[in-house]
Amino acid sequence: MTQVACSHCHLKFDESVMIIEHKSEILYFCCKGCEGVYHLLKDEGLDSFYEKLGKQTLNPPVTLKDDLNRFDLEGFKNKYIKITEDGLNQVSLIIEGIHCSACVWLNEKVLHRTDGIIEASINYSNNKAKIIWDDDEIKLSHIIAKIRSIGYNAYPYDPSLQEEQSIKERNEYYTRILLAVFASMNIMWLAIAQYAGYFTGIEKEHKNILSIGQFILATPTLFYSGWVFFRGAYYGLKNHFVNMDLLVASGALLAYAYSVYAMLTQRGEVYFDSVTMIITFVLVGKYLEVLSKKRASDTLDKIIGTMPTEATIIQGNEKELISVENITIGNIIELKPGEKVAVDGILEVGSASFDESSLTGENEPIHKKSGDDILSGTICLSSVVRYKVTKRANDSLLYTITELLDDSITKKPKIEQLANSISGHFSLSILAISLLTFGGWYWINGSFESALIIAISVIVIACPCALGLATPMATLIGISRAASRGILFKESRMLETMAKSTLLALDKTGTITEGKPSVISFQTEEGFDPAMLLALVHSSNHPVSQSIEKYLHDNYSDMTIIDLANIKSIDAKGVRAEYDGNVLAGGNEALMKSLGISTAVTSEHALYIFALSDKVVAKVELQDKIKDQAKQIIGELTNQGMKVVMLTGDHKQSACNIAKQVGIEEVHHSLLPVDKAKHIDKFHKDGEIVVMAGDGINDAIALAKSDIAIAMGRGADIAIEVSDIVLLDDKLESLLNTFTISKRTFAAIRQNLGFSLLYNIITIPLAVLGYVTPMLAALSMSLSSLVVVANSSRIKLKSNIKENR
């Protein structure tokens, strides 16, 4: 059958399943939602959206639960809505479903056309929107409804938490860098003229003018762009701590002071170019760090934004909607299907299925009855239930997780503190040496000027450049190499920790295995008709049903399409339906038992039984498939000296079974999210440097606790957020590549550091002895930087050779 693209979302499906409309052209829609949005846009005259969309595909619009009135409640208003100076309302939203810039265009266009909306701007990179509106003309719930009507969804976040601060910080750095880059570029052509004059002769007057030009450019660079170093040095000194900032600041300041002196007295050379160069290079390095913080706060906002703000409590015979902060222990809360649980509790009345995928990563809904724990962040799926609150909002699971993540984003790892203390010692020694040099030469020579020049040479020649570049240059190349293979490092310093790691902890589902079950055995008996089973599994979107559907399509052809009647899905058991007077049932043993069908089968794997008119006609065994090459890769890692362990929430049998197949000896099973984190702590106590790879929210706390966290690209947002490294292609091979690239990069870093140390050992004594002028010092400093850059580029070549083999 031919596949056609949906006129709205552009996803391709079989022509037979499409809704077809014959207008001036033939229109195909994959669902009612797409059809609705398409006609809405056409009627509003916004169909140029499809031109802008090009070949991009969209997610088909989903029907959302009716929770619009929550946006007009007092609790919501106090938390998220701000009143602007003009007396208008302002809210910050995250828009879900934005794929491309055409989506941004459409949302803005629709919002601009809505009466009462005064301002609406959407940021494409992080999908965040700022909307200002007049509350007399339109309510926020209507604005959200408008966004939903065109197939997107929106939820609020509180920008004052992290975002405002990080945007401010980023823009401040940006301005400082722009100024520094501008000044360095311009100072260079003035400096080149002056250097040329140094060798070929230059009139004193001309030289003075060039010096003044450089002075004008260097002054704002040093005091405005370089302000961060002065600030850093000041705070360092205040806390009795000498840092790299102090070396940068003092080196630049001394070179500047001497240059001003040389310019005024018209004796000697000026070094304004060195001043701006030092500031610019080091500032750019610092800026990269600020950028990564901003990205991290974006995703945290997304998680907090989906947290419920209100819950319905039952008081006597009355229902009351109160804000989450006011819920106390012992309150009875009513949950309707589709609602997200706000606080933890114990189920009292009724039973329902819950979607716990946001916490456990398991897609299968979990059936809960009276007396079972209800966890915040999970979603009630099937019926109305009442539960008793056991924890206040601030102690509930969801809140605890977001707190932990907030901490992990703002906290600095041990390794960086170590790096700082090393550079601190280095800086202190250099400053001491230059001071001694100055004193020594002044004592020998009696000339203040020559003593100062020599002391500056010492600082400039040892200036952070080679040492400062040694690490970032190698990591930059290592990271870009990794990125081209789908391995994203969030921060460069992680390469170093990764290379030193000793223990790898792996989650099972989704990391070692594919994360979805696949058919491993398929037994049929007399009377089996694949078309009937296909129709039955097609009616359910449970992962087990989907795998069986895929299996049937792969193994049977010419199956006629049949329509089932009275399809009924039975919670956590399976599906029952009727066809031609026969009763069809498909599901687990519990379903068969409840229907009074005897099965008499046992299996260590998940079992799906298909019965036709009370007779079992097919038995399907399913198992989560292990990823390709898992065994080889884990073997290779063990050979490289890594200790590999498995941490899983799954039960013992299944965990040990998989571990045996891939060759992992140490297995910790049946773990809750917090238990996984405890194991990581234990590994730390044993002195291990821990790398953890996982994909679900159940791994999030453990990921945040480990030294290096690796998330699978298809994992939950939250897992990706706390991770330091993301593997986009989900392959275990990438995990191995991550180790290889880290180790190579770290080797290059060590060579670079070794070189710059050697360079300093040779050049600093020369400078101390007065053989080096500041200009020569600046030149050799640049040359040493070049050596470091050249050595770092070798990482690329080396990996290429190996890959081509």
């Binding site: 941004v104 301005t175 501008f182 007057e205």
Partner: protein, 83 residues
């Protein structure tokens, strides 16, 4: 080349460059580069329609501000102390 001409050349070129820098910094400070992809897509998507929209939004904003001002003034005018 006389020194005064050289000084003037350096001065003017630096000044013009600084003007450009100031404009760029103004753009950064007012959030025009916050969304890099949107900035680039502006060239692809912005047409007469978008310009008209922008003017309309501006008018809407002015109207809303006036309305709020009027409401405030009316409130002050009709102010009565509580009994």
């Amino acid at each position: 080349m006389s020194s005064s001409i050289m000084a003037m050349m350096i001065g003017i070129s630096t000044f013009l460059g600084a003007l450009g820098l100031a404009a760029l910094i103004w753009g950064v400070r007012t959030g025009q580069f916050d969304d890099e992809s949107k900035f680039i897509d502006g060239a692809r998507f912005d047409g007469e329609d978008e310009l008209r929209d922008a003017i309309k939004m501006d008018e809407k904003k002015k109207k809303a501000q006036e309305k709020v001002k009027k409401a405030k003034a009316a409130k002050e005018k009709n102010y009565m102390p509580p009994d």
